[in-house]
């Protein structure tokens, strides 16, 4: 093959015969592993790939997956979901957010329930669509409830740059952008999850570079492979981990060489740094408060900051999950969805009790969709 077709970027990385061959190669090489592998796939996108393509079933018993916290909707604590609901109820407000956020239950309601009551709540295809909505509704307060990890943060920064450039004054930002490395550190510091290797999400590193994982192998003696999201990407990453273990190496390696570099997208990083800075405290569902694990708007942009402007009406008390929901334990890598008593019965994608069942990247949602339950 000398010329790449768009089709190859999809089909080439999903070919069933090659999936089987790569799984058999892993099975061969995993025979010499000295200890079982417990690989945390940090990102919910990887959990989805593993479940959709049944990768666990193709691999030997001494390779297991521990599902990580990399699902921005799943880790959102209820008090912040309540923020979105309170903001949607502000007089003359239009609340904007991305996809899955609409259906996540807060303490008493969800954005979809509030939308049905008549509040103007819209899911965007792109943050940039917020510009048009703000310009078309000059008498409204348009509030963008921004969510996502490093991958989605620069899009909010690009939107802020446009807002500044065009002098838009009726668009406000509620920033919930979170960071992967501090969450991984918090899980490892907790010490309860038996993790001895990591698959790092490639799209986070397309922006932030693979450099963000460089400290991990040294700190925790765990290999880290920055992996793409197609099934062959994930399998190749597992093979790279098996080889590291067999050769007594412990390194950060990049599998997704077609778009990840050590440095990442510097322009995107610069744009983020212009508008945002690390936030001292951010409470993660299940994991709790993690220092410097999220971002907030810089002081200079306080005029756009919905958390400052609407501070009087936003609840501040932490709100715990329903006592039967084990989302938090799953996000810490200590349980799997089918360990939960309400999984598939009282909690389903149509009537979710917890966030991990709502998001298409949530572990519970992936198990419900693809595993036989």
């Amino acid at each position: 093959m000398s010329e790449l077709r768009l089709k190859d970027l999809y089909d080439g990385f999903r070919d069933p015969e090659t999936i089987r061959a790569l799984a058999r190669r892993i099975t061969e090489e995993a025979k010499t592993l000295k200890e079982p592998l417990y690989i945390m796939e940090v990102c919910g996108g990887h959990t989805h790939t593993i479940m959709k393509y049944g990768l666990k079933q193709l691999l030997p018993k001494n390779i297991d997956f521990i599902h990580g916290p990399g699902c921005p909707v799943c880790i959102m604590p209820k008090e912040r979901i309540d923020h979105a609901i309170v903001l949607a109820q502000v007089e003359n407000a239009i609340l904007l957010t991305l996809g899955d956020m609409i259906r996540v239950p807060g303490s008493k309601s969800s954005l979809s329930v509030e939308r049905a009551k008549g509040y103007d709540i819209r899911a965007l295809y792109s943050p940039m669509d917020a510009i048009k909505i703000a310009l078309e509704n000059p008498d409204k307060k348009v509030i963008f409830f921004a969510i996502g990890f490093e991958t989605t943060t620069p899009m909010t920064a690009a939107l802020l740059a446009q807002v500044e450039k065009r002098g838009i004054t009726n668009l406000y930002f509620h920033i919930n952008h979170v960071l992967v490395p501090p969450a991984v550190d918090a899980i490892m510091a907790d010490g309860q999850a038996k993790i001895n290797a990591f698959i790092g999400p490639a799209h986070v590193s397309v922006i932030s570079g693979a450099k963000i994982y460089l400290p991990l192998p040294k700190k925790y003696s765990t290999p880290v492979v920055v992996s793409g999201f197609e099934p062959l990407d994930v399998l190749e990453s597992i093979l790279m981990i098996v080889r590291q273990k067999n050769e007594n190496r412990c390194e950060m390696e990049i599998q997704y060489t077609r778009s990840v570099t050590l440095e990442g997208n510097i322009k995107a990083q610069t744009m983020i740094a212009k508008f945002m800075k690390p936030r001292d405290h951010f409470r993660w569902r299940g994991i709790g408060d993690i220092l410097d694990s999220a971002l907030e708007l810089r002081e200079e942009y306080a005029a756009y900051d919905a958390e400052k402007i609407f501070a009087d009406i936003l609840p501040t008390e932490p709100i715990d999950d329903h006592k039967l929901c084990i989302c938090g334990t799953i996000l810490k890598g200590l349980a799997k969805p089918n360990d939960c008593k309400v999984f598939g019965s009282a909690c389903t994608p149509n009537k979710p009790m917890g966030s991990c069942m709502v998001s298409s990247e949530g572990a519970c949602n992936a198990y419900y969709r693809y595993a036989e339950v």
């Binding site: 093959m1 000398s2 790449l4 768009l6 089709k7 190859d8 970027l9 999809y10 080439g12 990385f13 070919d15 015969e17 090659t18 089987r20 061959a21 790569l22 058999r24 190669r25 990102c43 919910g44 996108g45 990399g70 699902c71 921005p72 909707v73 991305l98 996809g99 899955d100 965007l124 295809y125 792109s126 943050p127 940039m128 969510i147 996502g148 990890f149 991958t151 989605t152 620069p154 899009m155 690009a158 740059a161 446009q162 999400p201 799209h203 986070v204 397309v206 922006i207 999201f229 062959l232 190749e236 060489t257 077609r258 778009s259 997208n265 510097i266 322009k267 995107a268 744009m271 990247e361």
Partner: protein, 95 residues
């Protein structure tokens, strides 16, 4: 949420917006986050309406070549195993 879709640039307008082909579907994406110059025919990764980065064609082809080699090697191995198990078969009725 963090997923991203490979697409091909088919047009770029003066507002730094590109029209891309995502598996036969045309859509508009912003190039505001692109550090390098990109042109028509380039492959890019799309996330929530933005191009995040270029896809390196040589690296993608290299990965596909590696997979092809593994597939061929494993098929060869499988054939060898079939022949070996046939050689070792005691209950052969014929000669």
């Amino acid at each position: 949420m963090c997923l991203s879709i490979p697409s091909k640039i088919i047009e770029i307008d003066e507002d730094n917006m590109a029209t891309v082909d995502t598996m036969g579907i045309k859509r508009q994406v912003s190039l505001d986050l692109m550090a390098d110059e990109v042109g028509i025919g380039d492959y890019i990764l799309i996330h929530v309406g933005f191009a995040m980065n270029r896809i390196d064609e040589a690296e993608a082809l290299q990965s596909l070549e590696t997979y092809k080699e593994i597939l061929e090697a494993m098929e060869e191995e499988e054939r060898r195993q079939v022949v070996e198990s046939d050689d070792n078969c005691d209950n052969r009725s014929g000669a």
